[in-house]
């Protein structure tokens, strides 16, 4: 019985399917409030990073200017920014009730996110090889905690979107799934915005 409310026929598909139900509306408002909290969380991390940047116990530790290379960070930024764009396409198709295309663009978003994550892991491995680790200095701790928290958010987002794609594959489009997909999209944009700040504050300020 309950299911009927969620499976809206295509001729009555709402302009904003994600907030068409009371739960959808709550999710939308609640998730924005959650993101406000996440903003403060990352602000605290940035503050900690700036306080401990280049703070190392002795001269033989590498500093930010010697470690970071912008080309890699630039490629990562492009991957993540593009994935934000593709998630917008997914939402666009969700609003047009085009389930297959929504799934497709969500899949592309996940692939771009996975590419970003692979590059981040590559970067971490390289730094560890150079002696810059989580335990080597306060700078190392702060760097890995900030970037790692962002990376952890990316991993959570990837698992999340994969689960959504798989679970929705059998269920198709409904205002119930629309709310779920939209919440993920909000989250993914947020991760992207945080990365823009990381690129500026950590990498650009680091090498300048």
């Amino acid at each position: 019985m309950a299911n009927m409310e969620y499976n809206v026929p295509s001729e009555r598909w709402p302009v904003h399917p994600e907030t068409a139900t009371a739960e959808g509306k709550n999710k939308f408002v609640g998730f924005w409030i959650f993101l406000a909290g996440e903003t403060v969380l990352f602000a605290s991390l940035f503050a900690t990073y700036l306080a401990l940047k280049d703070s190392v116990p002795s001269d033989d530790h590498l500093l930010a200017a010697e470690l970071f290379h912008l080309p890699l960070a630039f490629v990562m930024t492009m991957l993540l920014l593009t994935s934000s764009l593709t998630s917008v396409y997914a939402i666009y198709h969700m609003r047009n009730n085009n389930f297959q295309k929504m799934q497709l663009w969500l899949g592309i978003t996940a692939l771009l996110g996975a590419g970003f994550l692979a590059l981040e892991i590559y970067e971490f491995v390289e730094y560890v090889g150079l002696g810059h680790t989580f335990r080597s200095s306060a700078f190392g701790s702060a760097f890995y905690f900030l970037i790692g928290t962002h990376g952890f958010h990316v991993i959570v987002g990837l698992i999340w979107v994969t689960l959504l794609i798989l679970r929705n594959a059998n269920r198709g489009m409904s205002v119930y799934t629309a709310a779920k997909v939209n919440t993920f999209a909000l989250y993914w944009h947020f991760i992207d915005v945080v990365w823009v700040f990381i690129f500026t504050i950590v990498y650009l300020l680091g090498v300048l």
Binding site: F34, E38, L163
Partner: protein
């Protein structure tokens, strides 16, 4: 499918019901029981502290045990007693005040309570597992990194778990108040308790993440070998102080604002007057919340941030006195000329005004940065924050307990015993803490386990301890009152105080599990009062009787919380015996099982999240027929 409260159920099914419940009224009871338990625990710790300090050179508690006692007293009272007890009243009352059938996220609400309960249990297991945290409730990094054993690990992990629950609850209440208000309930028609809950919820959203990060830094340093606070490796312990107080100062407003809300309701009901200056009260609440984030460094005047920083934070701190003063005058003006009923809640509310003003005045004294150098770390500070927290928050909790008891349990606490508790508690409170101002000015430092004979502190400390026993006696009488009331179980009907003004009093007691058979129409501030005076005393429904949607119960919140609880044991012992670990634990035996426990615990949590995301949870419908049947029964009962 749906359970009505009249059905008889076995003990097992009642327990299962509470383990899986997503009903805000039942979650309120869980918060009240668990919060009350931790309040008693924190109170016992306080008594042990006062016994130790009763006479000079006492050896009732050892110095180390005393440190554990003050740490656990503070941590327990703030995180495990005051906040959860406020959440109990918020859960019990706010959805009813705004005419909602539940919170916006009932599932999250259940998670919040289980994270709090398990976090509290975890923190207190430290007493039996090698010693409690002993670096103070503020756990400054310079102390906490050097604290031997696992005590501070318990602090960090326990706070992380309860903190996550609190954050969820904050998001939940903020969303609920934005989206779930009944038709006609505009922002400027919300009862003051709803308003203060709203502002406190938003403060939680912004204040708890810095604590989360601060505690993560502490966890990583103590359990995973990082160097945030290890000065030899480039670390900086002041970061902890900033993060802690960026959380810690708003936290005191998270506690006091809902208490202000409870008092506002009580003043208005028992003076039988509309709250004086409603819009000024709302404005002052928002302003206090806003300023709350700009004053954290007044806890750090003696750190050496420099005269500019100190001056800015001093001025911002003094500015908070303005909206608080507005509130005080509005409460007085509300009572002024009212027809006052001296019920137990009203007595607490009246006692609150002078007590809280005294705490506020000493707060302004400390806001003057140069003077603060004299007060810092003395008993003057202890006296100040107990005046605002006991004289404000705890009075508010006790007032709220008596006032909202009928809504939560459908009976009334005994008024005579309530007044005896009031006299003992308020008298004991002033006896305990007034003298501590002077002890502080005479030079007695806080957080020191004893003092010497001949320093001039003997009489004052003895007086303070005697006062603590009066407070304890008051609490014991309250417990007797609660037990008696529960045993007698004399049910009361709608609007038991007779003068209820807001929607929560318009409901039949016990309220149906769906709260409102029909969503109410709100015609103004004090919606129920308006209907009493201008209508027929019945709330006008905003919809015809029909089907509506309710959420399903779920065990997943408890399982998710249990996963984090289990993972915490893995993290707790992870650094033992490792060569990269801090000195405090590197000498202990290595625990090879720590990592698997950590991974399994986190696995349980994340798999539960996945299951939650995978399964459709569409809830169920309460049918028109069932509502009509309930309404008929109610009609019959009224005749």
């Amino acid at each position: 499918m749906a359970q009505t409260s009249t059905q008889k159920k076995g003990v097992g099914s009642v327990i299962w019901e509470y383990l899986t419940t997503v009903d805000h009224k039942k979650i309120a009871i869980l918060y009240l029981i668990a919060g009350g338990f931790f309040f008693a625990l924190g109170g016992i710790e306080a008594m042990l502290i006062r016994i130790q300090l009763a006479v000079p050179n006492n050896d009732f508690l050892s110095a180390g045990l005393y440190n554990e006692m003050i740490t656990m007293h503070g941590t327990t009272m703030i995180f495990l007693a005051a906040m959860p007890l406020l959440f109990a009243f918020m859960n019990a009352v706010v959805p009813l005040q705004i005419g909602a059938r539940d919170l916006a996220f009932p599932f999250l609400n259940s998670m919040g309570v289980w994270l709090f309960i398990l976090g509290g249990i975890f923190l207190n297991l430290s007493w039996f597992m090698g010693g409690a945290p002993d670096a103070g409730w503020t756990s400054y990094a310079s102390l906490s990194i050097d604290s031997p054993g696992h005590g501070v690990n318990f602090y960090a992990l326990g706070l992380q778990i309860t903190g996550a629950g609190t954050l969820m609850t904050g998001i939940n209440f903020a969303t609920t108040i934005i989206t779930m208000r009944a038709p006609g309930m505009t922002y400027m028609r919300m009862p003051l308790f709803t308003w203060t809950t709203f502002v406190a919820a938003i403060l939680i959203v912004f204040a708890f993440p810095p604590l989360t990060i601060g505690v993560f830094l502490l966890m990583f340093d103590r359990m995973f070998g990082s160097n945030f606070f290890i000065v030899e490796a480039g670390g900086n312990t002041i970061i902890w102080e900033h993060l802690f107080w960026i959380f810690g100062h708003p936290e005191v407003y998270i506690l006091i604002l809902p208490a202000f809300g409870i008092f506002s309701e009580i003043f208005s009901v028992f003076a039988r007057k509309r709250l004086f200056g409603y819009s000024a009260m709302v404005f002052a609440t928002v302003l206090i919340g806003f300023f709350g984030f700009m004053v954290w460094a007044h806890h750090m005047f003696t750190v050496g941030l420099g005269p500019t920083a100190n001056a800015i934070f001093a001025v911002a701190t003094m500015a908070i006195a303005v909206p608080t003063g507005i509130k005080i005058f509005n409460w007085i003006a509300t009572i002024w000329g009212g027809s006052i009923e001296f019920t137990t809640p009203m007595l607490y509310a009246i006692a609150f005004i002078p007590s809280f003003v005294m705490g506020g005045v000493t707060g302004i004294m400390q806001a003057a940065a140069p003077a603060d150098y004299q007060y810092h770390d003395s008993y003057f500070i202890v006296a100040h924050f107990h005046y605002v927290i006991v004289g404000g928050v705890v009075f508010g909790l006790l007032a709220g307990l008596h006032y909202y008891w009928p809504i939560m349990f459908n009976t009334m606490l005994n008024e005579v015993l309530g007044k005896i508790t009031f006299v003992l508690f308020v008298f004991g409170f002033h006896l305990t803490f007034l003298i501590q101002h002077f002890l502080g000015l005479w030079g007695m430092p806080r957080r020191v386990f004893t003092f010497l004979d001949g320093q001039g502190y003997n009489a004052a400390n003895m007086i303070s301890t005697i006062g603590a026993f009066f407070m304890a006696a008051g609490v014991i009488i309250l417990l007797i009152n609660i037990v008696m009331t529960l045993v007698k179980n004399e049910r009361v009907g709608t609007d038991p105080w007779g003068d209820g003004r807001t929607l929560e009093w318009s409901l039949p007691l016990p309220a149906p599990y769906y709260n409102f058979a029909q969503v109410p129409l709100v015609r103004g501030l004090d919606a129920y009062w308006i209907e009493k005076k201008q209508g027929d005393g019945k709330i006008i429904p905003a919809e015809s009787v029909g089907d509506f949607h309710m959420p399903n119960n779920s065990i997943i919140p408890l399982i998710m919380s249990l996963g984090l609880f289990i993972a915490s044991f893995g993290a707790l012992y992870f650094a033992d015996g490792k060569d990269w670990a801090i000195d405090a634990v590197s000498g202990l035996d290595a625990k090879p099982w720590a990592l698997p426990v950590l991974v399994i615990g986190l696995g349980i949590t994340f798999v539960s999240m996945g299951v939650r995301s995978w399964k459709d949870d569409l809830g169920y419908y309460v049918t028109k027929e069932e509502i009509e049947k309930d309404l008929e029964e109610l009609e019959r009962g009224a005749k």
